[in-house]
């Protein structure tokens, strides 16, 4: 049997009277990359944030490694150590250096041995080309460098799955490629399980094993990546792809 990392069943999400997510169902296997596509406001980010417990939900069930999540704050706090998340706006802690940002969660939250972790994260930072910036503050880094640190910060917890929320959307175009390569390596070399929200269609096409196409909070299409970009099933998805730059 294949390892199932995440499964979502009949998820509905409301803001007061407005329904942001309608009956969401999908599952994610170990090593799989799921890409959420759709126009702005279609609920992609809301869905991603819900999977990290940053948005609450009343209706529906989320399973993590085949266990039903009881969505209490305490449970989410523990689960987040296994579900890494990277944000569009980096959100490094401005009062901490690069290495302090990265060490914080493994050492203080996971209570792992600092020297051990330091070795690991120095390797990770070297992989993304930041060996010289261990003691720099976020303010001294470019957007692309900050986002590399944010990725490493999430990886340092050794998560089972990574959620990437439009992580290249705030970057200058010339920085985008470097970040995409890091994510592709994570998938191809490390077989990291990921859910990615992006507006970069080329990138999505290269990396997506499976595509969820959302509009108005509904999943219109759940198609393997190779198929989606060649022959989308729905008219809306076709129009969406035609409107995007490749």
């Amino acid at each position: 049997m294949e390892d199932e990392i995440l499964k979502v069943e009949h998820l509905n999400k409301f803001y007061d009277n407005w329904q942001a997510l309608h009956d969401i169902n999908f599952s994610l296997k170990k090593g799989e990359v799921l890409t959420l596509l759709g126009p702005s406001g279609s609920g992609k980010s809301t869905l991603l944030r819900t999977l990290n417990g940053l948005e609450d939900y009343k209706d529906g069930t989320i399973y993590f490694q085949e266990n039903k999540i009881d969505p209490t704050p305490k449970n989410w706090q523990l689960l987040r150590q296994k579900i890494g998340m990277v944000f569009q706006s980096y959100e490094l802690f401005p009062n901490l250096t690069v290495i302090e940002n990265v060490l914080l969660a493994p050492v203080k939250v996971q209570k792992r041995n600092e020297n051990e972790v330091r070795k690991e994260v120095e390797d990770l930072l070297a992989r993304v080309g930041l060996s010289y910036y261990l003691n720099a503050y976020p303010r001294e880094l470019s957007g692309g460098q900050k986002q590399r640190v944010a990725i490493v910060r999430a990886l340092a917890m050794k998560p089972e799955v990574m959620l990437l929320d439009e992580i290249t959307a705030s970057l200058d175009p010339e920085m985008v490629r470097g970040i995409e390569e890091i994510v592709e390596k994570l998938s191809k070399q490390d077989h990291m399980t990921m859910i990615i929200v992006t507006h970069q269609m080329n990138f999505a096409e290269r990396i997506a094993d499976e595509v969820l196409f959302l509009e108005n909070g509904k999943i219109l299409e759940d198609t393997p990546g190779a198929e989606f970009f060649k022959k989308p099933q729905t008219k809306r998805a076709k129009e969406f792809l035609e409107s995007m730059d490749f």
Partner: protein
């Protein structure tokens, strides 16, 4: 204005100057301590206690120090609680200043952006860890402008101690005016004395504010 009159009054002013400084220092340190405690209780929403302290903050902030002092100095002894004027002054200043400082800290904590808090949560932090590593360090930096304004405010408020006859600067100047009827000289000395205290402090606090801000946010 006559310089000789001012010269003669110098030792008396020097003593009052020292007293104003001492009372200000005790008041500021005390207010900071009360302010930190109150804002922590409010941040962690400790049941009952946090509601009581919110009431305290509103009462202290929305009433004048003068009437607070009159209450301590004239009304408390009716119930057998008699304190010296100086103790009343310090207690009153800390009562007032603690509320202002609490508001300053709380404003800073509330100013930490939701996205920073979410990114802390996404790292699996507990509410306590979130406070310790994200909210407090950034919130403290954000509260600096309010805190430094409060420091200057509290020093100036010590002038109101004159109404319960604490021989600080303002009270001393008034005494001298009453005795010698030379208002220009003594008022001039009074203003200069406050300038000597406040100008360096204002400059120092502005520098400190920039340093803390840069340390936390890099701008």
């Amino acid at each position: 204005m006559a310089w000789s009159i001012m010269q003669q009054a110098l030792p008396i002013f020097a003593r009052a100057f020292g007293l104003t400084l001492r009372l200000s220092l005790i008041g500021i340190v005390g207010s900071m301590i009360v302010g930190v405690i109150v804002s922590l209780v409010q941040y962690f929403k400790v049941p009952v206690l946090s509601q009581i302290l919110t009431a305290y903050v509103e009462l202290a902030r929305n009433t004048p120090l003068l009437i607070q002092l009159f209450f301590l100095y004239y009304a408390f002894p009716v119930f057998g609680l008699k304190m010296s004027a100086e103790v009343c002054g310090i207690v009153g200043l800390i009562f007032l200043g603690g509320a202002y400082m609490a508001e300053g800290f709380t404003g800073g904590f509330n100013g930490v952006s939701l996205s920073q808090i979410n990114s802390g949560k996404a790292l699996g932090m507990s509410p306590f860890q979130l406070a310790r590593y994200v909210v407090f360090p950034q919130g403290f930096a954000l509260s600096m402008p309010a805190l430094t304004a409060n420091v200057v405010f509290l020093i100036k408020e010590t002038s109101i101690f004159s109404v319960i006859a604490i021989p600080e600067l303002t009270n001393t100047a008034l005494d001298l005016i009453g005795m010698y009827y030379r208002s220009n000289e003594y008022l001039f000395m009074l203003v200069v004395a406050y300038a000597i205290i406040l100008i360096p402090i204002i400059l120092f606090l502005a520098w400190l504010e920039r340093r803390v801000r840069y340390g936390a946010f890099g701008n």
